[in-house]
């Protein structure tokens, strides 16, 4: 089965990042249409299309836009979250590098809808190439009258600025991102107030993911009904799935939401190399609780995964084969979150550190049996008790690994060493 390419129309096209290529592929046709529409109708259209945020939470985009009080006396901002930092996720990066105008058109339509005249694209600091592509794309858009004063003679003004991050995972959290743009340490804010009331510089702000915005022009062009018929009733449209880890054909695949995980791995990913078997799958970036080989028939959409206690997240799928030590996987994850915790909340700052410590001790054969329950208890107290979801992002996968692969932990402790050979562990090492 081929991909269902809506936003990945750039794939295989030469110089797809240039404005000519985008226009040739039907780009910038939604913008004049949108500029002639009532913003309420655009919001209604997006709501009817059922577009859900592709950044991980799956929040309905139309509803989010509807939160903005468009007659606010303060300026309104739209920030495009291009800080894709989730291990296992690499979809936004490709959209930015290959087809920046697509998301830019989405940004312009979004800004028009919420009455914003300034937009920031917050791009991850480690993506200098993408930032350069975006800068050139902005120049092209200004030259062609898609940005600046009186866009396409509609009377609507908009400036877009590329803001480069400085290397913090936490700046992908929307309020951490806003703090970072304001020149402060990237530390999430306590909510309420939510960004729609008080966001960037204390003004009403919407933060949308790159992929979400890239869908907007297509929905304007082809209508809500077209979009809502793709995927499942509550998970409409396509999703760019990323495949990585121990898999034969890693890469990005745009497919309707709700595709079975097994089909994704076997048909598109070409299965696990070396004739080995799938042992676990991280279905949506490193924060998602892991699935076992028994759960491969699950549908890859927001609701199905959430029902089984995992999440679709960014749909960055990491496949782990049976040669891999799951304690090591958990340790690696905890290590990442320990380093990326902003350090505000104690459950996160100390919790991630403690998890990493205990997991390291188990992995190195210094653990004790009671650590296993302590790990689970610590994870449960890290979930839902902090300002942002980073602690959850660490606790959830670790907790799922401990629960689903408890026997490996017990084996480590009984043996006093790791039973797996290091050289087979690929990128987790």
């Amino acid at each position: 089965m081929p991909e269902l390419r809506i936003i990945r129309s750039y794939a295989g096209v030469q110089d797809s990042h240039k404005i000519e290529s985008y226009i040739q592929r039907g780009g910038y046709q939604a913008l004049p249409k949108a500029l002639g529409m009532d913003p309420d109708d655009i919001i209604d259209l997006i709501k009817r299309a059922g577009l859900r945020g592709r950044g991980g939470a799956g929040f309905p985009t139309g509803v989010k836009w509807g939160f903005i009080q468009r007659d606010s006396k303060k300026p309104i901002y739209l920030c495009c979250n291009a800080d894709e930092s989730e291990p296992g996720s690499f979809k936004d990066r490709e959209i930015i590098e290959q087809d920046p105008h697509q998301m830019l058109e989405g940004i312009i339509i979004g800004c028009y809808t919420i009455n914003s005249h300034k937009s920031y694209i917050y791009i991850r600091g480690e993506m200098p190439y993408g930032a350069g592509v975006l800068e050139r794309a902005l120049e092209e858009a200004y030259e062609n009258g898609y940005l600046g004063k009186n866009i396409l003679n509609s009377g609507f003004d908009l400036d877009v600025v590329v803001f480069r991050g400085a290397g913090a995972y936490i700046c992908g959290e929307e309020t951490g991102l806003l703090e970072s743009i304001e020149g402060k340490n990237g530390e999430p804010r306590p909510k309420p107030p939510f960004p729609a009331q008080s966001g960037l510089f204390g003004c009403p702000t919407i933060v949308n993911n790159v992929e979400t915005l890239a869908f907007v022009p297509h929905i304007i062009n082809r209508g809500a009904e077209w979009f809502s018929e793709i995927g499942t009733p509550k998970n409409t449209g396509t999703k760019i799935y990323g495949l990585c880890g121990q898999i034969n054909n890693p890469g990005l695949y745009e497919l309707p939401l709700g595709i079975p995980l097994r089909e994704l791995i076997d048909e598109y990913g070409g299965g696990v190399p070396g004739g080995r078997k799938v042992k676990a799958v991280s279905p949506g970036g490193s924060s998602a609780p892991l699935l076992t080989a028994d759960e491969l028939d699950l549908k890859m959409d927001f609701d199905t995964l959430s029902e089984v206690g995992s999440m679709l997240g960014t749909a960055g799928v990491t496949v782990i084969d049976d040669s891999t030590c799951m304690v090591r996987v958990a340790q690696n994850l905890a290590h990442f979150y320990r380093d990326e915790s902003c350090g505000q909340c104690v459950q996160c700052r100390e919790g991630t550190w403690w998890l990493e410590k205990m997991l390291t001790m188990i992995e190195e054969g210094r653990g004790r049996m009671e650590y296993i329950d302590t790990l689970l208890d610590a994870c449960s107290q890290m979930r839902g008790t902090t300002i942002c979801a980073l602690a959850d992002g660490c606790a959830m996968p670790v907790e799922s690994i401990v629960k689903k692969f408890r026997h490996e932990f017990e084996e480590h402790i009984k043996l006093g060493k790791c039973p797996f050979e290091r050289e087979h562990m690929g990128e987790w090492s």
Partner: protein
Amino acid sequence: MPKLTIDGKELEVEDGLNLIEAASRIGVDIPHFCYHPALSVVAQCRQCLVEVEGVPKVMPACNTYVREGLIVKTDSERAVEARKATVEFTLINHPLDCPICDKGGECPLQKTTVSHGPGYSRFEGPEEKKVRQKYYLSDKIIYDPNRCIMCTRCVRFTEEVTQTGELGYEGRGFRKKIVVFPGKNLDNELSGNVTDLCPVGALLNKDTLHEERVWYWKFTDTVCSLCSNGCNITVGVDPRKGKVARVRPRTNVDVNDYWICDRGRYEWTDIQDADKRLKDPIIRKGEGYEITDWEEAVSFSATRLLEESRKPLQSIAFITSAALTNEELYLFKKLGQTLGSSNIASSIGLINDKKTFGLLSSDPYPNSTGVKDLGYPYGSNMVFEVIESIMEGKVKSLYTAGIDIFDFVKKEDKPRLSEALSNLSLFVAQDVMLTETLRLAHVILPGASAYEKDGTFTNDRGRVQRVRKAITPPGTAKADWEILLQIGKEINETLFSYKDPGDVMNAIANEHPAYGDISYDNIGMLGVQRSGPA
């Protein structure tokens, strides 16, 4: 006024209150570290987690505000377990070195651990904890990053209260620590407050580092005497040493909020310098000085003052300063009037409302307003005039209390003043420390500092506040009111028949309508406003 329920109790409170404040109204204490009523809410210590009906997650009480119909449970199993877990997390990298930590005994973390913590730790031994180097944030304050729980109260204090922004944090996650911002020094006039704000032993005062244990201290609630603002303070005294160990702000939102300045906190120590203090009465006999007892000093002073006052063409002057309490100023003036003096003066500071951080006044006296209120001919000019009369030889005898009159003459006039003072037929001087003036006195009467006596000061906004005795003056030194009362009694028993400063305040209230309603019974801990303009 929303109505809500906390732990089954209904209450009605004003809008805009958070759950910590609301709960405190009904005596429910929700533990917290990062929240402080004077600072912005950051909700990052996560110690104040409570359960709110209808909300799936436990909520930080500091960032959850009252609203109609809210049902809050601070004592549900989930809330209790969440707070217990928070304590366990907080202690993971916090060294359990309470026995050698200056904060021990008054540490919010220690208290919260006992009252809300799990009572045990599942974390492996101390050798696994992260260890980092301590360093000084200023010449007064040391920082221990190991104890720091990153509540950022100190950072927010310098950002929001002093707005000087000296403190920030460096690093992320478990590497985070408090640092002085590059190119800055933590030297604002309120910097010491961060040591009170710190809910753990991470920020400590260098001056008493490892020297004091707070549980020995006795606390006296009093008022700072180092400027005209009259900040409310609590003085901690180790009774075994009989010395002030620490001066701390006492919350009074009408005067000093939650803060005091570094002068009030650190720069009172000279009164405890045994070498500088006068300890016993001294009488000059011929060329030499003789230490004497109070009986002799008082009767000698009283007899000689009476003698002088009875001389024909007597010219007796009384000079004091706004460093004295209202009661002392009243007695001093009354003494002068009883002896028929027409030269009664007191120095005062320049009263103006321009204050550094709203606290530090340029008027170094605590009671300039009291001087004016008690009918002293005010203005420093009056003091200059009397001193001029002394230098001109018009004054034959002099009584000073709490003032070094050499401070009021130019350098070139000092020899003239010296000579004039040497020629006086009687010079009685009362003060706390030996000054240039006192060296020329016939009788030296050792007084007490504001930490060593009872009385009242009237601050620059007309608020009458109590000072209370925290320590005993050195040697046989006495409170100034007591000295004045004893001499007064020798001169006229009935006119000076007061029992104590409270009694003197009643007399002030009788004579001065602005103080009409004021008595020691109603001044209370936070003082009262006297009537009339500030």
